[in-house]
Symmetry: C2
Subunit: 82 residues, 2 copies
């Protein structure tokens, strides 16, 4: 893919990749661009992190014989991208 | 701020705002643009969610007299934007 230009500054953005997710970052204004596929990967990672926390909390509740109602706190962050 | 053009498609992006965070979304390719300030708000929200989960897990550990070592799972997601 050719170099993407920052929609704000018009300068070429720098590709940054970590854990298989690629974002383009503007070296001038620090804005970031995520294409749909990369955004989905990032959201999936965030959901996975949430699942891990919820699973551990659920285990504690179970141990105490209490029902656990998932918090889904990350939803309020991820909602932005629905 | 004038309408931003998608760096990929060149079409005008649509501003979407939720919980005080504003992103520009390309109606054509679904890519998203976050300026630095909006990205920081989003990262702060994600960190806050993580803090809430960790605090509850820590409370359970304390109840059992065990030390809790923070997991910091969200770090692996947020690291991308360092």
């Amino acid at each position: 893919m050719p170099l993407l230009l920052c929609p704000h500054c018009g300068v070429g953005m720098k590709e940054v990749e970590r854990r298989g997710v690629l974002v383009d970052v503007c070296p001038q204004c620090g804005g970031v661009w995520l294409d749909r596929g990369e955004l989905e990967k990032l959201l999936a990672e965030a959901r996975e992190v949430e699942r891990a926390y919820e699973a551990e909390l659920e285990a504690y509740h179970r141990k105490e014989g209490k029902a656990y109602r998932k918090k889904g706190l990350m939803k309020r962050v991820l909602d932005l991208f629905d």
